[in-house]
Structure formats: structure tokens, C-alpha cells
């Protein structure tokens, strides 16, 4: 904002062009991260929720059928349930109590009017990785667009839209892409934009003599002044992931997750959910302590031990129903690229103390 500050795509002067370059750089870094050939296939949104709403509302009509899983975040479930009230047919493919999806559950739900398959890439509750490539193959074989919610995985896990047969990829900037809140995007595979309605129309800095929304990428879905300052941060974050190497980031996080799983799993009185296998999940662990509510545990962790955790249902009631922690929920801890082994040890010690104290008092 200090040195550029102008409106990208809205003028020919050098600062406007410079602002436009910021957007292009961010698009290119993201394209490289996800194996996307054409950076203009990436639409900027303000978060993964908006991206998912764009994909879902853009593609589905009453009378269509959509398949999703029982481990989804509300950013997928709520739009689908709202559309269900208006005539959408919805199949929620059941997952195991560890959050695992059998791709055949998706395949057997496919009908003549199935217009979209949308699944999370990794659960935001237990971290379980979904079999994206297999589901993508099934979707591609049936000619059905496949959308993934990559909120938990973009930047943290290698993603290749071609190899994984991904048609729509929804991502947020503020998690493993190290960008600011208020950024995110949707990748739309070539050709799909023809049948995907935008959420808004407006000024795009292109085809200005027309009162009709442009039909080309990314302008069709980018009306109004973008969050240039946010995208500058998102681009820098994406570039950081590329420089560190996503495989390297993944290896580090997997190692931390392993320690967390082993530690939590060995404290008597702690129930740890999910696969309990660092190779099959992202760096997230959900647990409960017998006789204590998740909120009590989170408050103790925060106030006494300086450990930040999230209690409750994590905006994913469906997932908690699947892992059988509904309605009380769990405590969720997550490690990141900057988390240290010492910090994990402190967290484990803190949980241990909270458990011990609950026993003497209980």
C-alpha cells in the first residue's frame, strides 16, 4: 500500500500496472504450487468458503444431484443443505469413524443427474487425508466435475491438479499458504467456466463498453477492486512455500505430527481420534479427556500453559457425527512448519498435567 497503492487493471499508469503485476505474480506462484499450466485459471476470492460457494452455487441447479462426504466442513455442507431445500438431490457418502473415505462410496452414488462431486482434501477435525486421486479418476471417468476443499492442504501437501484429476480447487490464503486472512482462490479447469455462473457481476477493467459480464478468465469471477494488498501477501506466502519446497514442509510437519500422535496416544485418560498415523493425515490431532469438556481443556491449555487449541465442533458438525464426538466435540491441536519439537513437548506435558489434575479432583 505504501509504494504501489493503485488499482490493478483500471488504468494504464505505471502504478496501476505495478498493482496488476502483483496479482500476476501471485497467480503464477499459486499455479506453480498446484501444477496449473495457465495462471489465469485461478480466481481470487476472500477465503475457501467463498471459493466453495462459487463452485457449488455456480454449477448446481435444482434437480441436479451432488455427492459429498460425511467429513465436510460447513463451507461445503451449508451451501449444499441450502440448495437441498431448493430441490438439489444430495448424497453424503459415509466415512469411517476415523474419517476415512472409500472411493467406492462415491462411485456407487453416481446417477444420471450427478453434476458435481465435492470432497475435502483433509479433514479439519482429525486431519485424515481423502483419496483424492482415486475419486478424481472416478469423477473423470463419468464426466462429472470434481471439486476439492484444499483449505487444510494447499501449501502443506503436494497438489497436482492434473495428476489428481481435480477440476476445481478451493483454497484459502491464511493457512498453509502463509498469506493474510481475507485471501483465497478457486482454480477452474479449462472449459468449466462456460457452465459456471459467477456469484457477482460488476466492473472488471475489461470490455468496459459492455454492460454484460465478460465470459473469460479470470475476469468473469473477479468483479470490483480486488484485495490487492491481501493478494500481495498471498503471493509472498505462496512463493515462500515454493522456496522451502512443499515436500520439505510436508516432511517436517509429518515428523511433528508423529510426535504429537505418539504423545497424546500414550497419556491415559486421553482419547485420540482419527487414523493416528502421521502418513495418512495432516498436522492436526483431535482428542478428548474423560470427564472434562473440550472448552475446559482449551481454557486450561491457554491460560496456564500458553498453548492455543480449538474446542468444540470446528464448524464441521458432520465430521464430529462421523467420528462420534457429537455434540460435545473435541480439542484440536495443530502443528505447523514453524512449530518446534520443544513446543510439542510442552503441549504434551500440559495435557498430561490437566489429565492428572482432573483425576485428583474427580
Amino acid at each position: 500500500m505504501r509504494s504501489v497503492g493503485a488499482n490493478p487493471g483500471r488504468s494504464g499508469h505505471r502504478l496501476s500496472i505495478e498493482a496488476g503485476r502483483i496479482l500476476i505474480e501471485a497467480r503464477e506462484a499459486l499455479a506453480e504450487l498446484f501444477g496449473i499450466d495457465d495462471p489465469l485459471r485461478i480466481v481470487f476470492t476472500r477465503n475457501a468458503t467463498e471459493s466453495l460457494n462459487l463452485a457449488i452455487y455456480g454449477l448446481l441447479q435444482p434437480g441436479d444431484h451432488c455427492i459429498t462426504t460425511s467429513m465436510e466442513h460447513n463451507s461445503v455442507m451449508r451451501p449444499l443443505r441450502a440448495l437441498e431445500k431448493k430441490g438439489l438431490e444430495l448424497t453424503v457418502a459415509p466415512c469411517s469413524p476415523k474419517g476415512e473415505l472409500d472411493p467406492r462410496e462415491i462411485e456407487k452414488a453416481i446417477k444420471k443427474n450427478t453434476r458435481l462431486i465435492v470432497t475435502t482434501h483433509a479433514s479439519n477435525v482429525v486431519g485424515t487425508l481423502m483419496p483424492i486421486t482415486e475419486v478424481g479418476e472416478i469423477a473423470r471417468a463419468h464426466g462429472i466435475p470434481f471439486c476439492i476443499d484444499a483449505a487444510q492442504t494447499a501449501g502443506a501437501l503436494p497438489i497436482d491438479v492434473k495428476k489428481m484429476h481435480i477440476d476445481l480447487l478451493a483454497f484459502t490464503g491464511h493457512k498453509s499458504l502463509y498469506g493474510p486472512q481475507g485471501t483465497g482462490g478457486l482454480y477452474i479447469r479449462e472449459g468449466l467456466e462456460k457452465g459456471l455462473e459467477p456469484l457477482m457481476q460488476g466492473g472488471t477493467g475489461s470490455r468496459s463498453e459492455s454492460q454484460e459480464q465478460p465470459d473469460f478468465m479470470p475476469d468473469k469471477y473477479e468483479s470490483g477492486t480486488p484485495n490487492t494488498v491481501g493478494v500481495a501477501g498471498l503471493g509472498a506466502g505462496a512463493r515462500f512455500c515454493l522456496t522451502q519446497g512443499v515436500a520439505h514442509i510436508r516432511a517436517k510437519e509429518e515428523g511433528l505430527t508423529r510426535i504429537l500422535i505418539e504423545g497424546l496416544g500414550s497419556i491415559p485418560g486421553v482419547t485420540l481420534y482419527g487414523c493416528r498415523d502421521a502418513t495418512r493425515q495432516v498436522a492436526i490431532c483431535s482428542f478428548t479427556i474423560h470427564d472434562l469438556s473440550p472448552s475446559e481443556i482449551t481454557m486450561a491449555l491457554d491460560e496456564e500453559f500458553n498453548i492455543m487449541s480449538r474446542p468444540g465442533l470446528h464448524c464441521a458438525p458432520a465430521a464430529h457425527q462421523t467420528i462420534d464426538t457429537f455434540p460435545q466435540g473435541t480439542v484440536r491441536l495443530s502443528a505447523g512448519y514453524f512449530t518446534t519439537v520443544e513446543e510439542i513437548a510442552l503441549a504434551l506435558e500440559a495435557v498430561g498435567k490437566i489429565v492428572a489434575r482432573s483425576r485428583t479432583q474427580g
Binding site: 490493478p8 487493471g9 488504468s11 494504464g12 500496472i17 496488476g20 503485476r21 496479482l23 500476476i24 497467480r27 503464477e28 495462471p39 489465469l40 472488471t204 477493467g205 475489461s206 470490455r207 468496459s208 463498453e209 465478460p214 473469460f216 479470470p218 475476469d219
Partner: protein, 78 residues
């Protein structure tokens, strides 16, 4: 950026949006082809307000640099 030269003829390539123009700019820069981003001339109509100007003699190089990589609206004479 190029200084205007005397006795040089120029062509321009038009795009659907500034995104296209800026992607093209990177491609030309990479190939070392001289260009300038200019407002679209009055006598031309374009989806977007800026275009890339280059020396006419470089047209084959420009077409090759941009082929398959960025969508172009059209090539025109300045």
C-alpha cells in the same frame, strides 16, 4: 521499456484484460524482445485499455513467445 525510435514501424498486440497483457509482458521480457505497455490507440477497439507495442520486425518472435501461453485478442498496426 523502449524509447521511441525514429523511422521505426510498430505493431501492437491486444488482450482481453490487463492480466493477459501482463502475462505477455513477462514472456516477452524472458525472450529479450523489446516492448512497451501503452494505452490502446484511439482507432483500435480492445477489451482492455492497455496493449503491448513492439517493433514490426519482431512480430514472428512475439507470436512465437506468446503462442499457446496467453490468449490474445488480436495483432494490429499502430
Amino acid at each position: 521499456m523502449v524509447q521511441d525510435k525514429e523511422n521505426t514501424s510498430y505493431r501492437v498486440v491486444l488482450f482481453h484484460s490487463t492480466s493477459g497483457a501482463l502475462l505477455a509482458e513477462k514472456l516477452l521480457k524472458k525472450e529479450g524482445i523489446a516492448y512497451k505497455i501503452i494505452p490502446v490507440p484511439r482507432h483500435l477497439s480492445s477489451d482492455c485499455g492497455v496493449c503491448l507495442r513492439f517493433e514490426s520486425q519482431d512480430e514472428t518472435l512475439v507470436r512465437k513467445a506468446l503462442a499457446e501461453k496467453v490468449e490474445i485478442q488480436s495483432f494490429c498496426t499502430l
